[in-house]
Symmetry: C2
Subunit: 712 residues, 2 copies
């Protein structure tokens, strides 16, 4: 469906007229004009100003009909006694007209009654809800769910960014818990999925085309095998336009981010020679971290700091600094930032706190304005700084970190940043960057994601966030990144999401977290359920090769682990391969007669290393198998390191031959399994002790990414 | 409601008659007799054999009425065209009678038509389903959910053991996701909760009173503000009676379990001096573990094993052995077990495999029969053995374990047993017992639970299981234990639960795991979502004091941790205390002006130990606060061990004063936080690094137990 310019004009005229009158709720006839313009199927209808007109309309439309009051002041028509349905004769229509108007007058004597809408009764079908709402983070989003009070109670609704594509819309039909209803249950016919998806697409386009539409509520829509029809249409308008901020193009972002993450020269404003000061920690970390570029301390009271020439002002710093790290009190930041702007330094890393987080909103607004004026990108304020390990750059007041690797981590909170650092050090996780975002006065997740997407050293991005400043920009950056590398998000504040005032069912159903959850999934992001999972996914994802297909096989020495691993496979959105007879026979050749082939392949507990090796080898060899989950059971016959050594060796042998399959392992045993897990992890097998859930969750995250990236 | 003997006799007569005819489905009039006997409200009705009778009945009942075919062969009445509803006149009733009978004859010419049921039309209301089904594990269970196809798709149904108490029944009304519907939404009236609960109780009693009733399906039941009425009743009978096994009284169980867990004398059948043999490992572990009682090796070919006199047969062993540990091949077990029986040894610990798990069901049945004949309780077969640490008893072929403490752990699987051992050793978890259950040919979870409930050394029980042999016995044992100590269960095989053939909606909805989940909760058991959670709960629960109320307060140095901890509090079924103004002021006195009081209490990141100490002190001091969740942020000002030391000290000080509140902590920081967490855990503060979820989940488990134990 393409909406012509003509149709758009018709909508514009309706909206302009309503807004000119200061109305935010459209009348039914106005709604009809709009739905007609977007070819949204609604019942045949007309407006009657007297009973005779109502009868004439009913005759033209055909019985049965429904009558509904039309008044800008009456939005809850049923409550006002303003609705009559199933009218089957001229006499009934005449009586209903009089009744409705009388009721409406009694309900609100002030209401301006424009007439009564005479409407074709809609063919029965499954009641669904299609609507849109303007989300404060994501802008216009489209909602879909079944209709009726039960669905409202269960909040079984799914959301996508508007405009939604046909694929988006079809995925929504499958995205509700009650999806089966639409496919037809207990002898009911399936609904026309294409017609329903088409309706979702049209409604989403309407909302996207007209930002002044705050909410659309088609509820109920009747969907059946023969098509869809929206029985009731409510459209609400917004009165305020969102605030516009300076935006940067992708190219501009990449240019400044490259200089931030790969600087040749760094100035430290507020550098200090006095231990215990932040400006001293930053200087030490830059120097001790081995940053090979220029480090220029700026301090009006010193000539030399830690053996480096100090400058009175950033204006005096030689060359072309890429980054100015701020370690001065909040009140001094604006003046220094002005100088940074005038000096042409593209990045200001604002460690100091004392801005919006302490209520100093004006001070923060001032630095944002300075940044926008000069095009200086601001990181922070209120952050620990950042690490760019491949540059040996440690521009923080924390402890240095030098294990280079493929994971870029960001956190909105400093505490979480410290947890990232400790976890990474404890597990030896290879890191490309750790970045504190703090107040996000300017640079935020989408800027970083844009850079990490291009950064060849980064193989996986993991982000802790409490909100998104611009959900659309984040989704765009995620969509550009996900086909290349996985993006893991820990969204904090899920359950704290407050109720929000809403003018429609769609609005009421769009709880903050529900929208985040659906939209992040739509963007292909892997959402970690908690901090530890975010960290573990970040550690595991770069280690695991990408699966080439859905066939997961469990090979286990412990039957008990096999059962728990099976649970975990299903819990994490994967499925166990149905083993074909020839493959079953091949596995059986290696395992005791009472062992169980099938899937899990239970090799039984008393087996020597050779049995583990033969079955793992077969799992890697057979091209129908795409991923292996290993369950190891500590015995004297196959001690933990024997298992670890053979598994790593066989996996390496196959990888050398070009067979790249993800292999994860759960090790059940005495404490020697901890060393075995470390050994395996370092060799590309994601292994954990004392848990059947973690290795499978990591594999599930890899699968989720592979699907989102279109690789499966 | 008490069902009189008379009423019971009426039901018995109906059931006997149906079973005598070889029928498992009852007719509607038979169902009516039964529901009347149990005072289950159903529409007024009667059976008409001709149209005149139907008209007379309709006149007596009052219009409108419904007509339904009555034929033992026709169970799907609607499908057969055998139902007409809303009949408002004599003429309509007459016509419907003829139509229904004609349809039924056409549908199944063989069907024996007993007549047509004339039924009062039920007053409208919320459609709900009440039913019972005989669960293979738990016996008769009662189900409750909303009616209608949507609920069936969403499987929004809850289960309890039958008979259910009034409290059980009321908890079911709140136990469905759509519970809000029953309370009245969007202007709908609330249903009569007491009447609905009463109906659930009655139906559950019916099923409990008559084991031959396999399924009851009241669907729909119409529930409204003025009462409830079951519009349709289906009752199915079972043809097979369950197999009876020898049962032991609680006293008998305790006597033999006491001798198993606190033996004075142990015989090892198949003891060996040859390293590598299981009989050698067991002997070594008993001796090296320091077991102070008698150890008697039994081996026909040896005089002496590891310095102990060996006996040719268990018959020759002196004294009163409490336990015979078997380390001989499966085939030799029956003969040796006979001797154990004749020797009067009450417990056989059957390490060997080669029984049911390898398909040798007959061999297993044989040893069960021997055990039942002599009253020898069997542990296993197919197990690693067991540990009873307070007795220095290590009757296993695994490695010894000697950290005494309050946790008793059991596992059905040997691999999981090894994971328990490794986890316990790695974390230094104090253990009272670790027991392998394997094939559970005799002793199972309920026997162990009965013992651990009484064992003064055990403060918490954690069990891994894949099934329960006797769900009712387990629930009884859990109910007796839970008021004294927490019981954690990891139920494996959740998602593998296969579809089961079902004759009713209730049956179809009773997926294995749904029933397990509800019944375990009803028994007061804490269900761990995975292996690692089971282990962590077991480690943490004995450490935490029991909360005396619901007021949880978060005190955090990192705002970011505060948000994640809040999410976790809600996720784990707790709620954040609303801080009263005076308490808020008291907290504010200690924190910077820009810190946030409220809850979380955000003391901000740069604070010294004194701020942590003052706020934690206040949290322990104020009697309105019942539990503390601490979020620590690693800074130079308050290093990890400083935080750990002050927290442990303040908590110890208050515990010494009798203030027992659970305190958990999430430590965000560099690797020094790991040592700090160990320090805290050893001192009664459940602390974890790099995770906000785990400490709160442990607190949630403690709360769940306190609620189940009736302590809150």
């Amino acid at each position: 469906m393409d909406t012509t310019e003509e149709h758009q004009k018709a909508v514009r005229a309706v909206l302009d007229a309503a807004l000119a009158e200061g109305r935010t709720a459209l009348t039914a006839p106005e709604g009809k004009t709009i739905t007609d313009a977007y070819a949204i199927p609604t019942p045949a209808e007309g407006l009657a100003e007297c009973a005779d007109e109502a009868v004439a309309l009913a005759d033209r439309i055909g019985f049965p009909v429904a009558l509904k009051i039309v008044s800008p002041q009456i939005t809850h028509k049923t409550e006002a006694g303003g609705v009559r349905t199933g009218l089957r004769s001229t006499a009934e229509v005449r009586g209903a007209f009089t009744g409705i108007v009388t009721n409406a007058r009694a309900y609100d004597p002030q209401a301006r009654i424009l007439g009564v809408q005479v409407q074709q009764m809609v063919p029965s079908g499954t009641e669904v809800l299609v609507g849109t709402v303007t989300d404060p983070t994501f802008g216009p989003i489209v909602a879909f769910g079944l209709g009726g009070v039960l669905v409202e109670v269960l909040k079984d609704v799914t959301f996508r960014l508007a405009p939604a594509s046909s694929d988006d819309a079809l995925s929504m039909l499958d995205g509700i818990r009650a999806a089966e209803i639409l496919r037809g249950v207990r002898g009911g016919a399936a609904v026309d999925r294409d017609a329903l998806a088409d309706l979702v697409v049209k409604v989403s386009r309407l909302a996207a085309d007209f930002p002044e539409i705050a909410e659309v509520d088609l509820n109920p829509v009747f969907a059946s095998a023969s098509g869809v029809m929206a029985a009731d249409v409510r459209i609400l308008l917004a009165t305020e336009a969102p605030v516009r901020r300076r935006t940067y193009t992708r190219e501009e972002i990449l240019v400044s981010m490259r200089r931030l993450m790969k600087p040749a020269s760094v100035a430290v404003i507020g550098a200090s020679g006095e231990p215990g000061k932040i400006g001293n920690s930053v200087m030490r970390n830059l120097i001790d971290g081995g940053f090979p570029g220029e480090i220029h301390p700026v301090n009006p009271k010193a000539d030399d700091i830690l053996g480096r020439k100090a400058y009175k002002s950033v204006m005096d710093v030689p060359g072309q600094p890429d980054v100015a790290v701020f370690a001065i009190p909040a009140a001094s930041v604006p003046a220094a930032l002005e100088e940074v702007g005038r000096r042409g330094i593209p990045n200001a890393v604002l460690i100091p706190s004392g801005f919006a987080e302490t209520g100093e909103h004006a001070l923060q607004a001032r630095i944002v304005a300075i940044g926008e004026e000069y095009g200086v990108r601001l990181l922070g304020p209120n952050i620990y700084g950042y690490y760019s390990t491949w540059q040996d750059l440690c521009a923080t007041f924390c402890t240095p970190y030098d294990v280079r690797g493929g994971v870029a981590l960001t956190s909105q909170s400093g505490g979480i940043g410290m947890a990232i650092l400790g976890f990474a050090r404890s597990t030896g996780t290879g890191v490309s960057a750790i970045v504190g975002l703090g107040n996000k006065s300017d640079l935020d997740e989408d800027d970083l994601l844009t850079w990490f997407g291009e950064d060849p050293n980064t193989e996986c991005v993991a982000m802790h966030l409490e909100d998104l400043k611009d959900g659309r920009a984040f989704v765009a950056a995620a969509r550009a990144t996900v086909p290349k590398k996985p993006v893991v998000v820990l969204k904090a504040g899920r359950t704290a999401a407050g109720a929000r005032a809403a003018g429609s069912h769609t609005g009421a159903l769009a709880g903050d977290d529900a929208v985040y959850d659906d939209v992040l999934r739509q963007a292909g992001v892997i959402r970690a359920p908690g901090l530890n999972e975010m960290l573990e996914y970040a550690r595991a994802l770069p280690v695991l090769p990408t699966p080439r297909g859905d066939n997961v096989v469990i090979i286990t020495g412990a039957g008990g682990s096999g059962v728990l691993l099976s649970d975990a496979v299903v819990d994490n959105g994967m499925s166990l391969m149905e083993i074909p007879p020839d493959l079953d026979r091949a596995f059986r050749a290696f395992i005791p007669p009472f062992g169980a082939a099938g899937n899990p392949v239970d090799i039984t507990g008393g087996e020597p290393p050779a049995t583990y090796e033969a079955t793992i080898r077969l799992g890697l060899e057979d091209p129908r198998i795409h991923a292996l989950v290993l369950g190891y059971w500590h015995t004297i016959v196959t001690p933990p390191m024997a298992f670890a050594e053979l598994t790593a060796r066989v996996v390496a042998e196959f990888r050398a031959k070009g067979v790249q399959k993800p292999v994860v392992a759960s090790l059940a045993g005495d404490i020697e399994v901890e060393e075995a897990c470390r050994y395996l992890f370092e060799r590309g097998v994601v292994a954990y002790p004392y848990t059947t859930e973690k290795p499978v969750a990591a594999l599930g995250a890899k699968y989720a990414w592979a699907r989102a990236a279109g690789l499966l």
